[in-house]
């Protein structure tokens, strides 16, 4: 499977995606503006509560081409962050008390300077989260020691595993992904990840393999823990439920499968003011592979830069100005405010 970008698909154009998302009416259904709901909740303009997570997207290159990927990542994507841009991120980090750096991609480990970056974050005494797709660990011998490397730096590993059954995982992430993910999880367990008392955190991410919302995080976590232990001898710490946002390849899937309108209606009907108050963009700064600044990784993939009154590139980092910014919102934001809420850290309510 090729990325939308490589296919020269119309949805590779973010203006086109935004035009689709901003149709106030689709298939006869009214889709009210997210800004209207936010105003009713008393949260417009949406402001940060502080910045506790610096999320760095180190590139779109990935060994997988998942059907729901909002990054449109894949082996054919070559955009990756240079060491110079990483240094700018580290310079900014050093000026602040931001405690957590969340590394994402693509498969962040494919960036040749990935390990260097983790080492530098460690030296600054900050916690690193890596969003590891698991299969990268077994993709090539040069990645087999990643669990040991992660453990050495106390990296918190957050990995996607959309289901405890192979059929539903492979439907979203590609044939054979489940089996390779289980192999990688065992390698992480072997060095202590997910094992009680080790202090090495291994969280799994559940996101629905289709046009429906995630169920209760606690209930799914219980089922995942039982099934993965019983059938595969695998342990982990927390399950994080994440709602798929109608962006890029998941938007393509919704449109192609005829589920777009019903899915948007579902998100809108499930709007939860408490989840709106807890959205992750209020405490996150998202940095693109080229150093540009965004309110979240989804805005990044829609080319929605932070508000122009704030610095828009990491070289101009100014914590005060960024903390005062008005967060850029659009229709996809309904994905983070539905039901129990959704964020890179799972449910928010």
């Amino acid at each position: 499977m090729k990325s939308l970008h490589a296919q020269q698909h119309p949805l590779a154009d973010t203006d086109y995606q935004l035009a689709v998302l901003n149709q106030a009416e689709a298939a006869g259904a009214q889709l009210p503006a997210f800004a209207t709901r936010l105003r009713e909740t008393g949260l417009l303009p949406l402001r940060p509560t502080g910045i506790s997570v610096m999320q760095i997207n180190v590139g779109k290159m990935c060994n997988q081409t998942c059907r729901h990927c909002h990054v449109d990542a894949g082996p054919d994507r070559t955009e990756i962050m240079t060491r110079e841009t990483m240094q700018l991120c580290l310079n900014a980090l050093a000026q602040t008390d931001i405690p957590v750096v969340d590394l994402t991609g693509g498969a962040p480990e494919m960036n040749p300077d990935f390990r260097w970056l983790v080492e530098q974050i460690s030296k600054l005494g900050r916690q690193t989260i890596v969003r590891c797709n698991l299969t990268i660990i077994v993709a090539n011998p040069k990645y087999h020691d990643l669990p040991v490397f992660f453990a050495r730096h106390g990296v918190r590993v957050v990995s996607s595993l959309p289901h405890f059954s192979a059929s539903r995982t492979d439907a979203q992430r590609g044939t054979g992904v489940f089996e390779r993910s289980i192999r990688a999880l065992r390698m992480l367990n072997e060095v202590g990840y997910g094992v009680e008392g080790s202090g090495l955190m291994l969280d799994l991410v559940y996101n629905p393999a289709g046009a429906f919302l995630p169920g209760s995080q606690a209930g799914l976590e219980r089922d995942f823990k039982q099934r993965l232990l019983r059938e595969h001898g695998v342990v982990f710490n927390n399950l994080l439920t994440i709602t798929n946002l109608p962006v890029s390849r998941f938007l393509d899937y919704l449109l192609e499968s005829g589920n777009y309108t019903a899915y948007m209606e579902k998100l809108i009907a499930a709007y939860n003011p408490a989840a709106a108050a807890n959205v992750m963009c209020r405490s996150t700064l998202s940095i693109g592979w080229d150093g540009q600044l965004y309110d979240c990784d989804f805005n990044q993939m829609l080319d929605l830069l932070v508000d122009a009154k704030a610095p828009q590139h990491i070289r101009d980092f100014d914590l005060g100005a960024l903390t005062q910014r008005a967060i850029v919102i659009n229709q996809h934001c309904y994905g983070c405010t539905a039901g129990a809420g959704s964020s890179c850290g799972g449910a928010t309510v």
């Binding site: 059954s165 059929s167 539903r168 559940y206 629905p208 429906f212 995630p214 089922d223």
Partner: protein, 112 residues
């Protein structure tokens, strides 16, 4: 205009409207309904799969739509959902067949 049918998928979302003509009973029903499906001695996923099986037994298209979606949301996979439908089929089929004993009893009563 689409040809009208007895079942309209859009009506499922209007289920709550039944309270308009009898608010008290409707409200009590929905409160009870919400209570039934909470995590308890059975998990939410187990309850959703039971509801899916019953939906097939009572052949309610609204319920099949609702509890297919709900089972997926609660984390059920295809094998679990199809096994639930087989449970419904086994009980429906068994319910017909077990009356075969009554038929046999009556036939024997009437026969030499």
């Amino acid at each position: 205009m689409e040809k009208p049918t007895y079942y309209n998928p859009a009506d499922l979302a209007k289920f709550g409207n039944i309270t308009e003509w009898q608010p008290e009973m409707g409200r009590k029903f929905f409160d009870y309904y919400a209570e039934v499906f909470k995590d308890g001695a059975l998990t939410e996923r187990e309850k959703s799969l039971i509801a899916l099986a019953v939906a097939h037994a009572v052949q309610c298209p609204y319920c099949i739509d609702a509890y297919t979606t709900d089972s997926l949301q609660k984390g059920a996979d295809e094998a679990q959902m199809m096994e639930a439908v087989h449970v419904a089929a086994a009980i429906k089929g068994g319910a017909a067949l077990v009356h075969g004993v009554q038929m046999m009893n009556k036939a024997k009563e009437l026969s030499m």
